[in-house]
């Protein structure tokens, strides 16, 4: 089994390794494996029978024509097992290889877990590799830049506080072109819902925020957005396994809601943020469950449509297919809710095969798209199966209720010439819902 890869340069890995000494590497390994790794590590290492049942479950393996070094068990063998075999005495070259595998060849999607006869959580093992890389200071540059921003600003893109507030204000002005007295309340105390946005919704994808505001106004939701840091629900520290920053960001989200005396937090269509806020982040902080309800966009839209708080006036006629984001479907079982919403919005749904909790990852998740241009080829190659799945449906629209899936599939669309449009639920709902006459300007 030979590990052959095209060279890729990422200063977050290569240059960072030039700046660390062997002692720091040793310390990080000892700390991660002895102080932080739980009993799971020992059980998983001792339980794996090397049966290979996980191999065909992985889109990276399938996307690389059966190269065995991409098989999930092989990725563990080449990282954690290698470290254990070498008793932690590993070289910088080893770390470089581990980082490449952990950050660019595993999306932490947990599809392989479903095929392991023992349920070994390979995503957990790869996360441990990321964690020790993070403690060494070896993290892809594009992820790390966002994490550094999170550390102080809480948001992913170094947004200043006035930039967030100003953005909300001009978005509200735009909203009023469509909704009479349309309002995006900022820092309103005692509202029912605190809406947190994706960082990109405040800068490059503001239409999503406007559409969410439109839905909130039409559904007459008592809502607000934060007037302080904590408005961005993303937690890129999860990808780097910078647990310290992850905990601080998640705590800020909940404390913002508690300070404003909000009943529940609602976020848009994002997978990793939900995963972090509902289990990985809250558990790191010591909560067994979210301290107040934390609702994903899919759950929220399901509620609005089911309770007829918004009325759908026309359905999309073009054939659509559904992307099941791993973090909310495989991890959290929202597959049927998602399908209920899509059926309410669309006439012609053609499912991918396999679907729901067995659907393939978009190949952009788990931080791969956040690793930036150096690693784009890796995710495009890993996304070959996803591209084939989409192509086989013949659908013209892919509904992807996750920012990462959305952008990842857009890139697959261009590379594999799929000729589809990728859409968020929020955009479709804002397009097809009724705006009551009295709310029109």
């Amino acid at each position: 089994m030979e590990f052959k890869r095209k060279p890729v340069t990422d200063i977050g890995i290569d240059e960072a390794l030039n700046r660390v000494d062997e002692e720091k590497i040793k310390k990080a390994i000892q700390w991660t494996l002895k102080k932080e790794a739980s009993a799971r590590l020992k059980i998983f290492v001792e339980t794996c029978m090397r049966c290979g049942m996980c191999t065909n479950s992985c889109h990276h393996y399938l996307g690389h024509e059966g190269d065995p070094t991409y098989a999930p068990a092989a990725k563990v063998k080449q990282t954690i097992w290698d470290i254990l075999d070498k008793k932690g005495n590993v070289s910088k070259e080893d770390i470089k290889k581990y980082a490449r595998i952990a950050f660019s060849e595993c999306n932490l999607c947990r599809r392989c877990v479903q095929y392991c006869p023992f349920g070994i959580d390979i995503a957990y093992l790869i996360s441990l590799v990321r964690r020790l890389c993070c403690l060494i200071g070896v993290v892809p540059q594009y992820i790390y830049d966002q994490v550094l921003s999170h550390m102080q600003t809480t948001n992913m893109l170094w947004f200043r506080q006035d930039e967030w507030l100003d953005t909300i204000q001009w978005l509200e002005d735009e909203l009023r072109a469509e909704i009479k007295n349309g309002k995006i309340p900022v820092g309103k105390k005692d509202a029912e819902v605190l809406y947190l946005a994706h960082g990109l919704e405040a800068k490059y994808m503001t239409g999503l925020l406007t559409n969410m505001a439109k839905i909130m106004n039409v559904a007459k939701v008592d809502w607000t957005v934060p007037d302080t840091d904590g408005w961005d629900y993303t937690v890129k520290a999860l990808y780097a396994q910078d647990l310290e920053t992850m905990g601080k960001v998640i705590r800020t989200h909940y404390e913002t809601a508690l300070r404003l005396n909000i009943k529940r937090i609602v976020i848009g269509e994002c997978g990793h943020a939900f995963r972090t806020a509902v289990y990985e982040g809250v558990r790191y902080l010591g909560w067994k469950e979210p301290p107040i309800p934390y609702i994903h966009g899919v759950q929220f839209f399901y509620e609005l449509i089911k309770e007829r708080k918004i009325k759908i006036t026309k359905k999309i006629e073009e054939p659509v297919t559904i992307q099941d984001p791993c973090n909310i479907i495989r991890y959290r079982g929202m597959g049927q809710m998602l399908r209920y919403i899509v059926k309410e919005l669309c006439e012609n749904i053609i499912e991918m095969s396999p679907k729901d909790d067995h659907n393939y990852c978009c190949s952009a998740g788990g931080g791969m798209i956040d690793s930036g241009p150096p690693w784009k080829t890796a995710r495009i190659e890993g996304g070959k199966v996803k591209a084939e799945q989409i192509s086989d449906t013949g659908a013209k629209i892919v509904i992807a209720p996750c920012h990462t899936c959305h952008k990842g599939i857009e890139d697959l669309n261009v590379y594999y010439k799929l000729n589809v449009h990728v859409k968020f639920l929020v955009d479709i709902i804002a397009e097809v819902m009724e705006i009551p006459e009295e709310m029109k300007p």
């Binding site: 830049d145 506080q161 006035d162 507030l165 900022v186 005396n261 009943k263 010591g286 909560w287 107040i292």
Partner: protein
């Protein structure tokens, strides 16, 4: 001005329904501390807003009004956008100075000092009592005022490396700015800024590297570092406590030394009037409670525990807690036997014998006294307050669209 009249039992201040007929849009309602005034930002036409107080509007018209709030003295202050420039408005008078942006409006305890973050050109800082900091920065986030109102502080960015220059950012680009002067040292992250009780010192938690956190006081860092740390507080004029993470878990450190046993989590430490330290702790995964001087209550709560509050003599300690999806109040480890959808800022009576709060259940608001629901329900209710002698309770409320100021005798609150 403030009118702490405890004799008038009920007073109709104004009819909010009329506002809704008179104006295009009525924004969030706020009330003064003495409950004599109610106000809202109102739209008189599209993108033209002003402030309405007890039914009367200001003469000034603005494009936007943000952060409206009453000072302790009863003045209404807000940040306003007029002719595309931001400034401060206080009781319908405008500050002469204008800004490209202004936000995070704060007052000190007396309400006399007013500060907010500002942007001028591409530079950021603070305006305190009408005076802009002499030095401005690449960014300024959040605002803090000393207890005496003389000093303002903000987290400031003192280096501005280009995007993706991770190595420069890792060296530390953030620090604390105090009255426009930045600390010499910069950090990857700085948070939890607080002033000493005598207003002379400033402390903040700083992050030196991935797992090196400590406290800086007036820019000088402790010798000890920790795996993680939350927000510090001064426990007196000189000593600082902070929750820190060690290899054994979370504990409380005072002046760099761990002084409590370890917990699964620890935050929101507060000093009681009698000098004890209470904090929110997780004794084990999913179990939360209050610890006093390191000793946790026996009773734990599975979902959440909010920061502790104290009776005026410090003898009783309470906290808002969440269990089975309902909020309630626990006092000295004993929760009330009734739960609510929400509960707001409980407070002890001056003699510490009673505890009162505003609560919500099934969409209506009411007063809760010592765990018992009050006789009245309200459409909107602001937090009840005890009179100085503890025999009466002041409330502001809306019933059938009318804003009322009420003074209830304590024995009238319950059914």
């Amino acid at each position: 001005m403030v009118n702490w009249d405890w004799d008038i039992e009920e007073k109709l201040i104004c009819d909010i329904n009329e506002w809704k007929e008179k104006f295009l849009f009525v924004h969030e309602l706020i009330v003064s501390a003495d409950r004599e005034k109610i106000s809202a930002t109102v739209e008189i036409e599209d993108k033209k807003v002003t402030t309405c107080i007890n039914g009367k509007i200001w003469e000034n018209i603005f494009e936007r009004i943000c952060f409206p709030q009453y000072t302790q003295e009863g003045s209404l202050i807000c940040l306003v956008l007029q002719n595309y420039e931001w400034t401060l408005a206080k009781d319908d008078s405008l500050l002469e100075e204008t800004f490209d942006y202004a936000w995070n409006l704060k007052t000190d305890l007396s309400g006399k000092s007013i500060a907010f973050n500002i942007k001028k050109g591409d530079s950021y800082g603070v305006c305190l009592n009408g005076k802009i900091w002499d030095n401005l920065f690449f960014d300024a986030r959040d605002i803090f005022l000393s207890p005496d109102g003389e000093t303002s502080a903000s987290y400031v960015k003192i280096k501005n490396p280009p995007l993706l220059d991770i190595f420069s950012s890792k060296e530390g680009i953030w620090t604390v700015g105090i009255n426009g002067n930045a600390w010499d040292k910069s950090f990857i992250s700085v948070y939890g800024l607080c002033f000493s009780t005598d207003s002379k010192k400033v402390a903040a938690t700083v992050r030196l590297s991935q797992q090196e956190f400590t406290v800086a006081i007036d820019g000088i860092i402790w010798n000890e570092t920790f795996l993680n740390a939350w927000e510090p507080i001064f426990i007196n004029e000189n000593d600082v406590s902070v929750p820190v993470k060690t290899e054994n878990g979370w504990t409380l450190a005072i002046n760099g030394k761990a002084v409590w046993r370890s917990f699964n989590q620890l935050w929101h430490q507060r000093v009681s009037p009698d000098g004890r330290i209470a904090a929110v702790v997780s004794t084990e995964f999913g179990k939360w409670t209050i610890a006093i001087d390191g000793k946790p209550w026996e009773k734990t709560f599975s979902q959440n525990v909010l920061p502790p509050f104290f009776s005026p003599d410090g003898k009783k300690i309470g906290a808002v807690v969440r269990e089975n999806n309902l909020w309630t109040v626990a006092i000295d480890g004993k929760p009330w036997d009734i739960g609510f959808d929400r509960i707001w800022s409980p407070q002890f009576s001056p003699d510490g014998k009673h505890c009162i709060a505003k609560a919500e259940k099934d969409g209506v608001y009411f007063i809760v006294l010592d765990g018992k629901i009050g006789k009245d329900v309200f459409d909107i209710l602001w937090e009840p307050q005890f009179s100085p002698d503890g025999n009466k309770v002041l409330i502001g409320c809306i019933k059938n669209g009318k804003y009322l100021r009420k003074v209830l005798r304590l024995n009238e609150v319950l059914r």
